[in-house]
Amino acid sequence: MIDGKETFWEALKRHGVSRREFLKFSAVITGLMGLPPAMIPKIVEAMETKPRVPVIWVHGLECTCCSESFIRSATPLASDVLLTMISLEYDDTLSAAAGEALEKHKDDIMKKYHGEYILAVEGNPPLGDDGMYCVVGGKPFLEGLKKAAEGAKAVIAWGSCASWGCVQAAKPNPTTAVPIHKVITDKPIIKIPGCPPIPEVMTGTIMYTVLFGKLPPLDSQGRPKMFYGNRIHDTCYRRPFFNEGMYVEQFDDEGAKKGWCLYKMGCRGPTTYNSCGNLRWYNGLSYPIQSGHGCIGCSADGFWDNGNFYSREQNIPFIGTESNADKVGAVAVGAAAAGAIAHGVISKIRSGKKED
């Protein structure tokens, strides 16, 4: 592939991009990263002077939905990011090359750019049976991941798998799959949760990281603040219906047709952080709630284990998944009240005897 020393602007020029188009592109990505227009000159400067950053993209236990999402990024186009913004040196699902030649290239890059490349991780390592549940290039993914992380400048955790564990780590987690921060402890990690994450969130994060040569501002959980700063619920266009108490009770009722709040249909918007409410999907076309389905909390930690997606009823973990806190609570309080009355009657009778 291309020499990592080429700048973004040089790479764009090589692809026949005009100066005018280049400036327009710089303005668009500035806005996308949530930065003010005053930052455009800085972005242009960075594009002209910063060498393209080598990226190694590895795949562990995953479903490739993150890659599928990434290649659908519309602003900027994924192809622009891949061909000009970064120098994607290794990606075993996107590369044309395969097999030993590709694995060798990865080793070479890791040596040549030691301490400089960005490691993007899709999926996560299973720890069970020495990592044998996920083998890449003949070796446990766990081993390859650790090795690749060693020389990385920063690590990007794509999707809920790498960030939290996702479906393979859901109870009972037979392969002991763990999020990557459990095995990579000495490198800065940017978490981009979501199943999959929003394409523009992925490209936006990668651009910020390579253009500024540093991590975007992260929240306490390690997620970029500009994309994960708000709850879906706090950015949802159906929120007025929530506040008002106008809820969909069934997917085929009047409220559903009128676009009321999906809270009682189990919507996880109140506990989920993502950009669906403002960036939306498919270049801003729509997102699940807009299409009439509640949020399932796909970017939230442990969302597979949080019970029925279509109900907000809270079960009680030590009683079982079918228990409902309100029903169990009402029965317990009722029993306590009945017990109290019975206890009171007996107490009164016995104390009466004492006085005789």
Partner: protein, 231 residues
Amino acid sequence: MNNEIKKYYLFSPSLRIAHWIWALAISVLFITGIYIGNPFFIGNVGYSATFGDLHALTMNYIRLLHFSFGYILLAALILRFSIIPFRKADRLIIPKFWTKAYWENAFDTLKNYLFITKSHRPYIRNPLARTAYFGLFLLLIFEVITGFAMYGRSNPGGFWDKLFGWIIPALGGEYQVHRWHHIVAWLIILFVVIHVYMVIREDILEKDGEVSSMVNGNKFFEHTPADITDV
């Protein structure tokens, strides 16, 4: 032993005020909280979505009530804890597990409650009650931490988020925080039912002015209470 009924002044005004504030706050918090968890009994009020909450008991208004009484509960707890250093009788919520008397008196009380013995020795506050109150305070503190953590997340990085946000990863995500907040709400109501019963029972059986003690601060004992050294 004397047979004259003696008056003991136990509960300071601050303690009594705090008690009735949290009794009110918890009642409101429980009802509004259950509604928030499952908004079933009011239904939509049919105003325009944007302006409806100015007119009626909407989800928005019920949440506002919940959060307001959350602040009130917090204030009552701060009042209760801030008086602990200054007055011995205000330290009656501490169960003294490490003393022999705690266990002896606990069994004495328990045997009476299980109808094994006909009466128990008189106590200012028996060990079982102390333990229950202590446990209740832990539950209330949990409710305040989880409540303000959820509340604070609409402004990540803000005051409440910085103060209590750590509980969210500790419980395994925000959905879990809702779940535990909800479960503990029921545990608190379980306490309340038993507490009110025990208080009334004590009042009737021991005739020590139990219920009114939380109003005027006094209890009445014929025999010197076994834990008199605590006040």
